[in-house]
Symmetry: C2
């Protein structure tokens, strides 16, 4: 597994760490090349870790499952042959932080998580399934309710089989209903002109948050779509958001 | 030929235009995806045009000339078969500005030019060969003296033959010696750790500027190399520079 790490200059003490999860078709290179986050990570003194989006194994699968390769949804697959390698949730929440803590000067009590699209989904489920682990969570155009989206289900079926109960355990909109724990400090942006908005199902997530009494700052931005121009435009707001919580003692 | 155009929102009158020339292996997409210039172009109200780096024709050439394809050095080639398509100097200085002026709301008296690496060379020769045409010129890690660099000559030979006299007509360090015209307003950044610095020959350009009494702001930046992280770090300074001259009436 590959990942990228950004370390601000002149760190004098263990620094907070922000995990960034990318979307489909990306790698550990994409966010560091296209988002312009470095200016803000440097400004706020935050170490930033961005893993590759999935295991790079080619599995011997039928045609209808080929699409699931090169993705991951940041879940732990249970169906063969995916279950062996596609354990990205455990990787992102356990193995990778452990590697980071052993090798970089991070403050393990100060971590946050964010992501884009499929990675926004990964960030949200990670925060929702681990109350208190992350000080804040943010997402750009996140997949919010994949168990109810026909397109997302095509992939999830590969990892889980056609099993609603399991899918719902990895679905932010479902998870938020049962969330118990400290404030999540959620920030979300989505482009009003996002061509994938029917798949993202942000409205379902908003409703579920309201019903559960979970606060979230959700911003729909006119004129923006799903891509990296959208990300690079709003990246500063996500760093301001995380810095606010990561820099508290 | 493809090119990208960035247009700031809410322009109320014809806007200044900044041409950006990219380096080898780039296209009209690279600068707009990786540099983060949009923030500054929006801030200063500058239209930004970034053409592809060369004609996308595949010529039937011998092995030793294959490398010249996918490049251009922003010159007008004289040797066959390059001379037919590889007229990038004329394209950048005449054809493209004419297309831009006919199709976008630009102020034709307010234009500047910048570039990276091979594109920095293109920007400098364009400014030096057209006194008064550009209000300012800037370059990140520009190729400054290709007629004296063995590696650069390998490519220039394809376009010109092994002819020093012609090469020198397309070489900033040679052109600066004879420059007569208004202030060029040159800004240059180069990484101290640029692996190509022996090919770039910035020192020769600095000497030639001093000898000719041409003012130039030249900045060598410790810890930076030749790539897009270097560009995205210093891009703001280049926009501040051009804005200063483009916004004067």
């Amino acid at each position: 597994m590959r990942f990228s790490v950004y370390i601000p200059e002149n760190l004098e003490r263990p620094a907070p760490v922000l995990y960034h999860l990318s979307g489909m078709l990306c790698s550990e290179q994409t966010f560091i090349q296209k988002s312009g986050f470095q200016r803000w990570a440097a400004h706020y003194g935050i170490i930033v870790v961005s893993p590759d989006v999935c295991p790079r194994v080619t599995l011997d699968v039928k045609n209808n499952e080929i699409e699931a390769n090169g993705q991951s949804y940041y879940v732990n697959a249970v169906k063969k042959p995916w279950s062996r390698n596609f354990q990205m949730y455990s990787y992102v929440n356990e193995e990778l932080p452990s590697i980071i803590q052993q090798n970089f000067n991070v403050d393990r009590d100060k971590q946050s998580i964010m992501g884009h699209s499929m990675g926004g989904h990964g960030a949200l489920i990670s925060a929702l399934k681990n109350p208190g682990k992350f000080r804040s969570v943010s997402a750009l155009a996140p997949v919010c309710n994949p168990s109810q989206s026909p397109d997302e289900r095509l992939i999830l079926k590969c990892y889980f089989g056609d099993d609603n109960k399991t899918m719902e355990k990895w679905d932010s909109t479902c998870l938020v209903a049962d969330y118990k724990g400290p404030e999540l400090n959620i920030l979300i942006h989505q482009g009003y002109n996002d061509v994938y908005k029917d798949d993202l199902r942000l409205e379902s997530f908003i409703s579920a948050c309201k019903k559960a009494g979970i606060a979230a700052s959700i911003n729909i931005e006119e004129g923006y779509d799903h891509g990296f121009y959208f990300i690079s435009t709003f990246i500063d707001q996500h760093y301001h958001h995380h810095a606010k919580f990561l820099r508290e003692s």
